[in-house]
Each structure stands twice: as C-alpha cells, then as structure tokens.
Symmetry: C2
Subunit: 244 residues, 2 copies
C-alpha cells in the first residue's frame, strides 16, 4: 500500500511541518498540498528532519489534481462533523477499521486532511470513497491537525500490504456511471438518485473491489438492463397482441 | 482504568500545552509535571480548550512524588533508545499491546513521557513496571513529544476498564523485596541480582497481578525459603550424625 497525504488548504505552516515530521516518523513521504499557506522558516523548523518532504511536496490548485490516480480516496472528519450531514459522513470508519480494511491490499491510498478550522467541505467529502473519524471525547473533540495525522499514520504504518490490487479509479468511475445509467433507465426516484449514488460509492469504496470484481459487477448491471429491456419488449408485444 | 500523565522535565512549553490538548481530546485530565519548564502564554495557547488541565496540573520535584500510589508505572522510550541498554528496555510493548493488556483491568496507570531531547533516564526507566515503544521508521524514529502522546492517548482511550483490580504498588514492592531476600538467602549470583530483579519487576508488571495473586506468590516464596531452611537443618543434622 502506498500512502499519499493530501492537506487541503492548511492555514498554519507549523502544522504542515509537523505533519511532514509525523509522516517521516512512520515511513511515509508523498505529500500533496492543495492551495496551502506559505511555508517558511517556522514550518520548516517544525518539520525538523523531514524538511525534504516539504521541499518535494506537490503543491496543486485543486483537489482533483491531488487525488488523480489514487485507488482509494479517504476523507477525515471530526466527531462534531458527524452530526451536521449524516448522509455524507456516515458510515465512517475508525482509523483502526481503516487499517484492517487495507490489510493485504495493494494500490495507492490518498488520505485527505482538511483545514484546521473547518475541516473538509461537503464537496470534498463527496469525492471520498471512505470517511474516517478518530474516536475522541465529546467534551473536546477537536484535535490538532498534526495530532490527528500522527494517529492516522500510526495506524496506517501497521498495514501489511499484500497482492490484492485495488481496482483503478477509472474502472470504479465507469461502474458508478453504469449503475447511474441503469437507475435512470429504471426510473429510479429522481430526487433520490444523488444520495443513493453517494451511498453506492461509499459501499463500493468500503468493499475495496479488484478490477475483476468491477468487471463482474459490470456484467451483472448489463444483464439487469438487458433483462428489463427484454421484458419491456415482451410487454410491448403483449400490448400489441391485446390491441389486435 | 484511570490514567495519570507524567511529563518528566519537559523543555518546551508548547509541547506541554499540546499534550494537555491531546489528553482532553481523548478524555484524560490528570497531569503531573516533574520539574517542568515555565508554562506561559504560548503553552496555554497550544493547550487551546485544555488550559484547565495545565492550571490544575500537579507540579512536583521528583518522579517518586509523581508515581506515588499508581498501580502500574509505564515508561516510554523511542526505538533509538532500545539499542543503548537492551536489558533496561526490552521487552517493550507497542501502544496496542499495552492497551490490550489493560483491557478489563482497574486501578491507576502512570504514563511517563520523558524530555524532548533525551527521553527518560536509566533510573527513571528502572522505576517502570512496563516500557512502551511506538513502532516508528528506522530512518527518522524521533517523534515530537505531543505526537507520541497523542498516539498513546488514542490507544489508551480505547481500553474498556473492568473489575480486575490491580495489586497495590505497596504489595508489589513487598513481593519484590521478599523475592530479593529469598535470592540473597539462596546465594544467587551477587553481580546478577540487580538485573534479575529488574527482569522480575518487568515480568510482574506485565503480568498485572491482583492483590490475591500477590498473596499467593508470597506464599510460594515463603514456602521455598522454608523448604531451603528445613533442608539445610536436615543437612546439618546429617553432618552432625556423620561426625559422631
């Protein structure tokens, strides 16, 4: 498993440095920064012996650039975030559950950490296959960004990768598009389709499909569509017979 | 399980504040500071909504004061520390192994975190029942103090306490003294006795004895001593008989 750490619009350079240090402590090195604050002396000082990670970090303008090519996109959200838009954030896994899920898999995981004040936005969470929440106390759930990162790195560093290669993001996106087409065709409730698609995306994200499984699911959906078309053809024929 | 966090001679006030924040994030509140640096505005700012923990922290002059009354004393040491004095530090548990060990127990655990530059000294590690090491990368094993603390708090917050009340520290100390007396009496190698006693302390620490188990072990040691004395009495008698 390869981990790509994505900081989305970090505000404090000290936190960026601290996150880099935590990454190196746990053997990770791939850092993406989406529209970050300036990182100057203090940020580099906090990185300590991980300055090189800051120097070679990829600075990008959009989340899409930061997650392009990742097999799995994992968003993080605080306990407080859970109450505001349950549909978006639930089910969320604990860091340990995420690590257990990744055990024995292969591919690249993008881990998104949001702004110090506001976390990840609704749209950013929509882009995630899996959402993770660190179990904190109700009294004071808001963790420092680099502390939350350290806990996640600690868990993810214990994942033993294996031969189970995750499906490519393109194949997953095709499967989701195929499912949407089938739902539209079958006149699924229009106002529910986005929420249901999000749920399907989350389910498939958690299921960690291989490309082979994606192909099989394509086959199932294709068959269902064919069956529906076939039956509607028969229905037409019956109607015609009745009219004769 | 009650957790007491003991920072031994922390150097940077920002770290003390960050540790306090991490404690509150995971529902812990009992902070002891052994000969700390001054904690002023920056330290309190880093504590954020956990300033109260700093304000009510117990500032003490010695480690003994900080660990008095704790049922289990847990020391922390970095991966790098492991190589310098293996006997002192090994076996060391991972944070997860510590949490698993504490599952279902009751009593007060003192968690010792050392200086930012030098960690815990040899003598401080000698005072610990258990030593914990966070598994980090070999390339850059030295974690920021508050990051290491956050990882430990994360693990320990997942411990479900139970009814298994740990033996009191006084009873454990008596048992160790009893063992030492038995070893001296049985002419155990003098130059090995301290190391072996440390190993016994570590073994009993990891075993998490109840008071009842401590009493049973006292009985076993008492019996062994009695048996030795009894046999030496018989031996004397045989010698006397031979001389007659």
């Amino acid at each position: 498993m390869k981990l790509r750490v994505v900081l989305v619009e970090p505000i404090y350079e000290g936190n960026v440095g601290s996150v880099a240090r935590g990454m190196k402590n746990f053997g990770f090195s791939d850092l993406f920064l989406v529209r970050p604050c300036d990182i100057e002396d203090f940020g580099l000082a906090m990185a300590s012996h991980a300055k090189d990670l800051i120097e070679k970090a990829r600075v990008v303008e959009s989340l899409n650039e930061a997650i392009a090519g990742a097999n799995l996109v994992v968003g993080t959200t605080g306990v407080r975030g859970l109450s505001t838009d349950r549909h978006l954030r639930i089910p969320s896994l604990s860091p340990r559950e995420l690590a257990e899920k990744l055990q024995g898999t292969n591919g690249e995981v993008a881990l998104l950490l949001g702004r110090e004040d506001d976390g990840l936005s609704r749209d950013e969470l929509l882009a995630c296959d899996i959402v993770v929440t660190i179990p904190t106390s109700r009294e004071y759930p808001i963790m420092n960004l680099s502390h939350a990162a350290a806990v996640l790195f600690y868990e993810l560093s214990q994942v033993e990768p294996g031969g189970l290669m995750l499906a490519s993001p393109e194949n997953l996106a095709h499967l989701l598009a195929h499912l949407r087409a089938a739902m539209v065709e079958s006149e699924y409730h229009r106002h529910k389709i986005d929420k249901t698609m999000l749920m399907l995306k989350r389910i498939l994200g958690r299921a960690q499909l291989t490309d082979r499984e994606v192909q099989t699911l394509h086959g199932v959906v294709r068959n269902l569509r064919w069956g529906a078309e076939h039956r509607s053809g028969e229905l037409e024929k019956v109607k015609e017979d009745l009219l004769e």
